[in-house]
């Protein structure tokens, strides 16, 4: 498969801060990719660089084989839904929908109308009078109906209720199945989207710390629970991501286990349980190196 996005050694400095620090990755064409990370990790900066809205300090980015900066042939194939999209003063919802086809050649007006109805968006209302959730659904509708070959959603659902989020996931999956395209989804709600993702990128302090398929990440960490002595024994010489103790019981989050490891753990009377993608990312981005040393 060819890559929709290729980033090589990309760095973006703001003064002494490295918002994005020497990252290299690629995103395959036609995949739904999650860009995950904590607040301030560099997600939005990275997405702005990918869409030519900001300039790299070092390194290179290619989108569909070309640099995105000031490049109409790339940008007409890209739809970037920002968390805080600004619209012209006095714009109403219907104006947004009317102007969208000027920017997106694949725009499907019928699909947009259907979504407006499903999200219960008042067409005649001014954008600045919309609630936070309604504003988010405007972005979601534009992102879905634009059918851009590369669609990037940056936190698309601030303020969206659970029903609307589920609607977004369902429509995204259904429309993606009919019209395959590359989708980058940046979000904090990892558990909600983890089943939708084919590939996962995790950024922390400006660096990519996980770049792997969702299938590989699933089951790549296991929580081992048992008596402290047994867990200590089992955890020796293994990578421990996290450690908790209560009374005489201890719990350790450990990296990939083979079938033999699992049998050994069962024989030692240890309980194994799965670690969700969200938990895995919390373990990997939540602790400082000092804490890991301390717990080891």
């Amino acid at each position: 498969m060819t890559a929709a996005i290729e980033a090589t050694g990309v760095t973006r400095r703001f003064g002494s801060l490295r918002a994005v620090d020497d990252v290299t990755f690629s995103i395959e064409e036609g995949a739904i990719c999650g860009l995950l990370g904590r607040n301030g990790a560099g997600k939005t900066t990275l997405m702005q660089l990918l869409t030519g809205q900001d300039f790299v300090s070092a390194g290179s980015i290619s989108v569909f084989g070309q640099s995105p900066v000031e490049n109409a042939s790339v940008l007409q194939n890209v739809c970037f839904i920002k968390e805080s999209q600004k619209y012209p003063e006095d714009f109403k919802v219907k104006h947004v929908l009317k102007s969208a086809p000027w920017f997106f050649q694949n725009w499907d007006a019928d699909f947009a109308d259907q979504l407006v109805e499903e999200f219960r968006l008042p067409q005649g209302r001014k954008i600045k009078k919309l609630s936070r959730g309604q504003l988010s659904s405007v972005g979601v509708i534009v992102g879905l109906a634009s059918r851009a070959p590369l669609t990037i959603f940056d936190e698309p659902y601030l303020g969206l209720d659970a029903v609307a989020r589920q609607l977004f996931y369902d429509r995204l999956l259904a429309d993606y199945a009919l019209h395959p395209r590359t989708v980058v989804l940046s979000t904090h709600l990892i558990d909600e989207v983890s089943n939708l993702l084919e590939h996962v990128l995790v950024i922390d302090n400006g660096r990519i710390i996980i770049d792997d398929s969702a299938d590989n990440l699933r089951g790549s960490a296991t929580a081992v629970v048992g008596t402290k002595a047994a867990v200590d024994e089992f955890a020796r010489n293994r990578q421990v991501l996290h450690r908790d103790n209560i009374g005489g019981i201890s719990s350790a989050t450990i990296g990939t286990l083979s079938d033999d490891d699992r049998k050994a753990a069962a024989a030692a009377g240890l309980e194994l349980s799965a670690v969700s993608l969200q938990q895995l990312i919390i373990r990997k981005t939540g602790t400082t190196e000092k804490e890991i040393e301390f717990s080891a």
């Binding site: 199945a177 084919e198 089951g219």
Partner: protein, 118 residues
């Protein structure tokens, strides 16, 4: 979907379960990968991977331009494969837990017999 194993394996198992349970009889058409994706709310590529596992092992077969179907004799083959795993997946943990609870082998056999008769 549970978190411990890849989703595509769980999809393949689910389809096998449907074949075993009779929801998908042999030679019947199987839902498309896109239908599986939207039903289980998973990535279509992942659903496709699960279906491909079963196509590779001959449980399902493709009719070009029409769709996927359950192969003849696949039910018996799934049963044979599952029986081979039955000991490791069900008997061993059952015995381990029974030991922890001081349930004697005789008591255990009694329980199984009773459950089987009800």
């Amino acid at each position: 979907m549970d978190d411990s194993r890849p989703i595509f394996i769980q999809i393949a198992e689910q389809i096998e379960n449907d074949i075993l349970g009779g929801a998908l009889p042999e030679e019947s058409q199987v839902p498309s990968t896109n239908e599986y994706a939207s039903f289980y709310r998973i990535n279509p590529a992942t659903a496709g991977k699960g279906v491909n596992v079963l196509i590779d092992s001959g449980i399902l077969y493709k009719k070009r331009g029409i769709g996927m179907f359950v192969a003849n004799g696949s039910r018996a083959r799934i049963i044979a494969a599952r029986r081979a795993q039955f000991h490791a997946e069900y008997i061993t943990p059952l015995i381990t837990e029974a030991r922890n609870l001081d349930i004697s082998p005789e008591e255990l056999t009694d329980m199984i017999r009773k459950e089987g008769n009800s």
